[in-house]
Symmetry: C2
Subunit: 104 residues, 2 copies
DNA sequence: GCCATTAGAATCACATTGTGATTCTAATTG
DNA sequence: CAATTAGAATCACAATGTGATTCTAATGGC
């Protein structure tokens, strides 16, 4: 099942955002916290893939009440998704124990 | 530059093994600690890629003094590799702060 | 000495993930 | 109604990860 790094970031971003999780917001969150760009291609294709694997659920929400506001694609992490993310996190942590860069 | 999850595991395994880091040993380390299989294909193609990116250095060592022992492909993580791994680790940790699965 | 056995490396075609550039959609402001 | 804008979708392509299979040479038993 494996879960790439970017997939993990998306799951985590969605979890952090909770009820406010939707495509563009997730993207912003990722860029803000990691400091590196998140391409739109990566965003939506990964959303599709995560949904196909049932790690997230997705549905069209309401439009933002703002100029140009458009319907948002809302995202929620499923139980299965949380398990997968948790397992990714655990693997990284456990594996890094004792290595130089994991201690500063 | 990004660094996939598997690449991170390989760098970390090599770092843990220190002077004893070589192809097959890294594989064993990964399987033992993560509990999941590490295919040979993944192993050697990723070694090649990491070396091309200068994140590790590789050279042929001595044969194991054992039945069937064959020359080993020794591995050392470069300074650049350590930086990349460190940055991957930091990103995961920082990003996971406050999320449910990062606290148990 | 010879050959079966074995540790370890290499290759290759293929599946999965990640990216950039570009286009589409519809609500809002004026 | 036309310009503007938040947000989503698509697509061709690049990078990563995998399984199956083959190659290589040293060693131990005989």
């Amino acid at each position: 099942m494996a879960l790439g790094e970017f997939e993990y970031l998306m799951l985590t971003a969605a979890a952090r955002l909770g009820d406010d999780a939707y495509g563009a917001a997730i993207r912003q969150e990722i860029e803000q916290v990691t400091g590196r760009a998140c391409s739109l291609g990566a965003l939506y294709t990964t959303l599709d893939r995560l949904e196909k694997k049932a790690l997230i659920k997705t549905w069209m929400g309401e439009a933002t009440p703002q100029r140009g506001g458009r319907a948002k694609r809302m995202v929620r992490v499923t139980a299965k998704g949380a398990r997968a993310a948790s397992s990714f996190y655990d693997t990284v942590i456990r594996f890094s124990r004792g290595v130089a860069w994991a201690s500063k």
